[in-house]
């Protein structure tokens, strides 16, 4: 055997060993994951209160778009099956199933994340080093996602999102928005930290954390559903016309939290300042805790619902 051939083979063997080591170092995310965090239950269930954007770093354009939003528009025939945007993963109540997509050699080239319900699209996190398509490529509610490992954390970056909303009460997300997800597995728990940026509607990153728990396939209550639009929606004129928010309705949304919880518009209009602890000082003397006992949406923690039977 020629010396050059021996050297080539040795180098090849070493390269294979090193590559195999790198692949093995990656964390296996496969399985069914359900949301475990006991937070933002109201937002996850029936949705946030009208006009309440406290803690969301909306700019002026964002809050005005949010106030002008009507949930009725999702009753329109062609929008009934519209999915949520990718950030819904850290703002919504549903998990999903991670499945590894492998090449012929067994290497993971992508992670596929299923959507348990029709209201979020499945997503593929490409791990093969491919570049995102050009900005003018198609934008969808799933977007385009690439990923890489930093230690035991999968860092996924989503672009090419379409116009959407961040929460069910209307704070907007533009098609320039991006999501960076830090996905870290701790045993049977999966921690996701989502950083949402939007140069159009946000004046700072909106950062949300969510915990997921690994469950057996039959243990998940997240049953796949398929959306069937209804031709006629009760309460909406004919299901075709665009919902309209009139000025008096905007005023009602702006003052809902003031009227029901004594929280001033300064807070509920959102903005980066409302995320930081210093903002509490601006509410000193302005906000007074309600003295009457809670009458709606009082308990929604796991197991606590029965305690509030007849109240919620």
């Amino acid at each position: 055997m020629k010396p050059r051939s021996v050297a080539f083979t040795l180098v090849s063997c070493l390269a294979v060993m090193l590559y195999a080591g790198a692949v093995c170092a990656q964390i296996d995310l496969s399985g069914n994951w359900v949301v475990e965090s006991t937070q933002d239950g109201r937002e996850h269930a029936s949705g946030p209160f009208p006009g309440n954007f406290a803690g969301i770093p909306l700019n002026q354009q964002g809050r005005e778009a949010g106030w002008a939003y009507s949930g009725d528009q999702h009753e329109e025939l062609y929008r009934q099956c519209e999915a949520w945007s990718m950030p819904y993963l850290v703002t919504g109540p549903w998990g999903g199933t991670f499945t590894a997509v492998r090449d012929h050699y067994g290497n993971v080239i992508a992670w596929h994340l299923s959507a348990p319900l029709y209201d979020r699209l499945p997503n593929t996190i490409w791990m093969d080093g491919r570049q995102a398509p050009p900005p003018q490529a198609v934008h969808t509610n799933a977007g385009f996602t690439t990923g890489h490992w930093e230690g035991d954390t999968l860092v996924a970056y989503t672009t090419h999102l379409s116009d959407s909303i961040l929460e069910r009460n209307g704070p907007p997300l533009s098609n320039q928005g991006t999501l960076r997800l830090f996905i870290t597995r701790h045993g049977d728990e999966l921690m996701m930290l989502g950083v949402i940026r939007d140069p159009v509607y946000l004046e700072a990153p909106w950062v949300k954390g969510q915990d997921f728990r690994l469950v057996l396939a039959g243990e998940s209550n997240e049953v796949p559903e398929y959306c069937q639009p209804a031709e006629v929606v009760e309460g909406l004129s004919d299901g075709y016309h665009t919902a309209t928010v009139l000025p008096d309705q905007i005023a009602a949304a702006q003052t809902y939290m003031l009227q029901h919880y004594g929280i001033p518009v300064l807070a509920t209009q959102g903005g980066a300042q409302t995320m930081y602890p210093q903002f509490r000082k601006k509410l000193s003397g302005v906000y007074k805790p309600r003295t009457t006992y809670c009458t709606q949406f009082c308990c929604n923690g796991r197991g606590a619902q029965r305690l509030c039977k007849g109240i919620d």
Partner: protein, 260 residues
């Protein structure tokens, strides 16, 4: 083909011989164990500010009576909270009961994190002016320690591929990892400033993860699971997010309060 097989055989033989030689070599003097500070895969030191992007109404403001949403309370906890009034506790000097370890990282606040000694990470908060000590090498007497507001916290670094590590691990060149903290020996306190209680059997588990973005932002996420057999029907699980600050110019110590 034969050449390749021969080369692979040579590589195996060489590796095997090297391994045996290494095993038969006289043992080198044991290196001094690294301290937790030296072994830290991530640098948590510095000033951090909490981002209140979740449960805003319950964290930034004092909620009204009966607002127990998002906490898996049991009947006993509800009875306690329904009967609770801030006035008597404030008069009794118990303002800090809403700043115990079970919820301290959940409050709107700044953190200052520093090494108190090579085996103890110190976490100070400006809200309520509290101090948590995350001990990588707890003193032997910790098992009999008195209950306190911040309890006893045992910390461990967890680095990629190593699983849980002891306080004095072998040298590592990893720059990634997580901090795992178990806390117990807690005195009773409040999960919310409207009287939702936690008891003395409460324990909590935390995962601290550090994430850096190309844009330059650094985020500290703390995933917390609170177990309380006395007042909770199930685990209370929440995430706290902090943003790295350049310095301590925003540090604003304020005493504990049950009304603000």
């Amino acid at each position: 083909m034969l050449g390749a097989l021969a080369a692979a055989g040579m590589l195996w033989a060489a590796t095997s011989l090297w391994t045996r030689a290494a095993a038969q070599a006289p043992a080198a003097p044991a290196a001094a164990p690294m301290s937790a500070e030296q072994a830290a895969p991530i640098d948590l030191k510095g000033y951090w500010v909490s981002l209140i992007t979740q449960n805003w109404r319950f964290r930034m403001l004092v909620p009204g009576p009966g607002e127990y949403a998002d906490i898996p309370i049991n009947e006993k906890a509800k009875q306690f909270a329904d009967a609770w009034k801030a006035g008597p506790d404030e008069a009794a000097g118990k303002q800090c009961e809403a700043y115990g370890a079970a919820v301290l990282m959940r409050n709107p606040e700044h953190l200052h994190i520093a090494w108190q000694d090579p085996q103890t990470l110190r976490v100070d908060t400006d809200a309520g002016m509290q101090t948590r000590l995350l001990q990588f090498k707890p003193p032997a007497r910790a098992a009999q320690a008195q209950a306190s507001l911040q309890g006893q916290s045992r910390a461990r670094w967890v680095t990629p591929g190593t699983g849980f590590r002891a306080a004095a691990p072998a040298a590592t060149d990893s720059h990634h990892g997580s901090l795992h903290v178990d806390t117990d020996h807690l005195s009773a306190g409040l999960l919310r400033k409207n009287g939702v209680p936690y008891g003395t059997d409460t324990t909590l588990t935390e995962w601290w993860d550090l994430h850096t973005e190309p844009e330059g932002d650094e985020w500290l996420s703390i995933s917390t699971t609170v177990h309380d057999p006395e007042y909770l029907d199930g685990p209370y699980i929440y995430d706290s997010v902090f943003q790295k600050e350049h310095d301590g110019s925003e540090w604003d110590p304020e005493p504990c309060s049950l009304s603000f």
